[in-house]
Amino acid sequence: MSDAVDAIDRMGLDPGAEILIEARGVSKRFASYHRRATSLKERLVRREESEGDVFWALRDVDLVVRRGETVALTGPNGSGKSTMLKVLAGILRPNEGSVDVRGRVASLLELGAGFDGELTGRENIYLNSALLGVPREETDALFDMIVDFSELGEFIEYPVKHYSSGMYVRLGFAVAVHVDPDILIVDEVLAVGDAAFQRKCLNRIEEFQRQGKTILFVSHAAGQVESLCTRAVLLERGQVLFDGPPRQTIKRLNGILGVDNIAMVAGEMARISDFAIVDTGTDEGVEEFTAGSSARVTCTLTIHQPLPEDARFSLHINAPGQSDAVAHVSPNWHVVSADRLPVGEHAISWQVDEWPDMPGDFSLALGVFLGPTLIAAARLDGLRLSSGQVRHVPGTLVLDGTTQG
């Protein structure tokens, strides 16, 4: 059995363990960037910021973490994970709600964030430790271990501006893991470095777990979340959607991910290629769309493994910065029975009778699902529609030209 399961058993997940992090009703609001006045002139000209320019990165989030827990924050891009970490680390101040963190916190939001390129690795270790609040004598005592862990050897005496990104990352992580916190807050930094170094970092984190320390991190990697965490929290659009066992959280995450995270599943079962929009009459690629006109959406779906159940197709239009589709090519789900999609290549097309009447930039996204799991996806960006309220776009799925592979 894996180390992590052992770790979970060892930690016992005592529901009565001391609460180290307690966030209640945390909301964080950002004024949209282009509306912020940073010069006196702008200040004088534009006095009030209107409500419409405000974006809520977190809304009424509750999070309680007890001693010994390892909690992952997960969710689609822009769901507020990193904002939440920054609020807990004390970098951002919430607009509403309270945050109570008890114990010594080491937060690692970006590897080597405190490094100065002109200084040598040795000098940066001391500077970084001072930033982390480690007394100099302690750094002296840890110095050799840090250099050892970083595998930098004699390079430690060279300015870090000459380091490769891998060396940079190794040094940053080495410093961070050698301080002795009660709570370790880590953003997606575990995804860097070569495999051997990643393994080393994970070992170190497992060592932290064995010491009963509390870890909070952001991750997209399902495997990492499942193997490391005792609990995972799913955020979406600044709200907690689910808080529970990692496996269940990952399942829910996969369910809502849509096309933003094709990497997780793409290629194993099926693949989409040649995703395009063509003119109904001429079959040639179309670049511009006007509301009310018709077009055909085509793609090639390659099935690698026999489908265990009926596939569901979703063709929808996304607006930038929004994780929900703004329009579906109706119906929302086009169900195609598994025996019509044997292993091989299938040419698939949609007849879009009428482009919706919505002005702005959009992307067209196609997802193929088996139950809640996305098995293939594709996206066309840079769609521009001129001027509306049509929420459902009538269309028909046509499956033709199947060739056995």
């Binding site: 950002f30 912020r36 940073t38 010069s39 006196l40 200040r43 920054k86 680390a89 004390g90 970098i91 951002l92 101040r93 963190v101 010594r104 916190v105 080491a106 937060s107 690692l108 939001l109 970006e110 964030a113 405190g114 100065d116 002109e118 200084l119 000098e123 001391y126 500077l127 970084n128 001072a130 930033l131 982390l132 609040g133 480690v134 007394p135 100099r136 410093v175 961070a176 301080v179 916190p181």
Partner: protein, 291 residues
């Protein structure tokens, strides 16, 4: 990255961080230059040459040892301007750090001021050496005036520096305004001319004392009294011609005058310090968001 600790050790750790930051700035500044630290003497030397030429040679200022007189106050002013300008941009210059690492933000302006202090301290060491060389050793009880004077200057520098640092994050105009204001301010402070010039015009009344509400005026006359120490114009051909022979050059021979002037400067410096700390504390939690 950041690590929070109990309050007891915090001050010590912050001092250590400030020391590290100052060391880093010094190192980065002089790295790769053969003359290194000696370069920090280049700027005051240039000031010395230019001003001495203009005022002592061209305008024939009757102030004896004009260069020494000038440098006694000018170096202190250099500390003030370098400290304030450095502090003003310190948060912006370290945006990456502020956005990614939780730490006590006041370390940044304080380190900028410490950086200015390290360089000016060296310049003063050279100046004191020069005093011995020209035969004006500052070995007099008034030398002790530099201690309270330094306290006032540091309070004014920290106060104004932190105020401007916090304000610049939200309003970038501040840094440019600070530059212009400091330039004008220098000419309102008795650095290039002796304070007695001002006294002659303002008389002995309230206006005269109001002049010392300039938080730099008091400390600078103290430094001139302590280091330069030529209280009266000597009896020379030039001073006889201008009728200044035997007249006061520095505002007074009496230590109590300097302490009073310093007291007035201290009032403004304290206001600066309180305003600076207040604004910085109020704003620092939002720095990461506003950068």
């Amino acid at each position: 990255m950041g690590l929070t600790r109990t309050r007891g050790t915090q001050t010590r750790l912050r001092t250590a961080l400030i020391r590290q930051l100052v060391r880093k700035d010094l190192k980065v500044k002089y790295q790769g230059s053969t003359l290194g630290f000696l370069w920090s003497l280049a700027n005051p030397l240039l000031i010395l040459v230019v001003y001495t030429f203009v005022f002592a040679v061209v305008f024939k200022s009757p102030v004896p040892y004009f260069g020494i007189f000038l440098m006694s106050g000018m170096l202190l002013w250099n500390f003030f301007t370098m400290g304030v300008s450095g502090a003003t941009t310190s948060i912006l210059a370290n945006a990456g750090l502020v956005k990614k690492v939780p730490f006590a933000h006041e370390s940044l302006p304080l380190a900028a001021i410490g950086f200015a202090g390290a360089q000016v301290a060296l310049q003063y060491i050279v100046l004191v050496g020069a005093l011995f060389v020209v035969g004006l050793p500052p070995l007099r009880p008034e030398l002790l005036l530099i201690i309270p004077a330094l306290v006032v200057v540091i309070a004014a520098t920290v106060g104004l520096g932190m105020f401007a640092a916090a304000s610049t994050v939200r309003l970038r105009d501040t840094q440019h305004f600070v530059e212009v204001a400091l330039f004008a301010w220098m000419w309102m402070t008795p650095i290039i001319y002796p304070a007695t010039f001002v006294h002659e015009r303002l008389g002995d009344g309230a206006l005269f004392w109001a002049y010392y509400l300039n938080p730099m005026a008091g400390p600078i006359v103290c430094f001139q009294r302590a280091l330069y120490g030529v209280v009266h114009y000597p009896d020379t051909e030039a001073t006889r011609a201008s009728g200044q022979a035997g007249q006061l050059l520095l505002p007074s021979a009496d230590v109590s005058f300097y302490l009073q002037a310093l007291g007035l400067s201290a009032i403004t410096a304290t206001v600066f310090l309180i305003a600076g700390l207040w604004l910085f504390r109020r704003r620092s939690a939002d720095f990461a968001e506003e950068l």
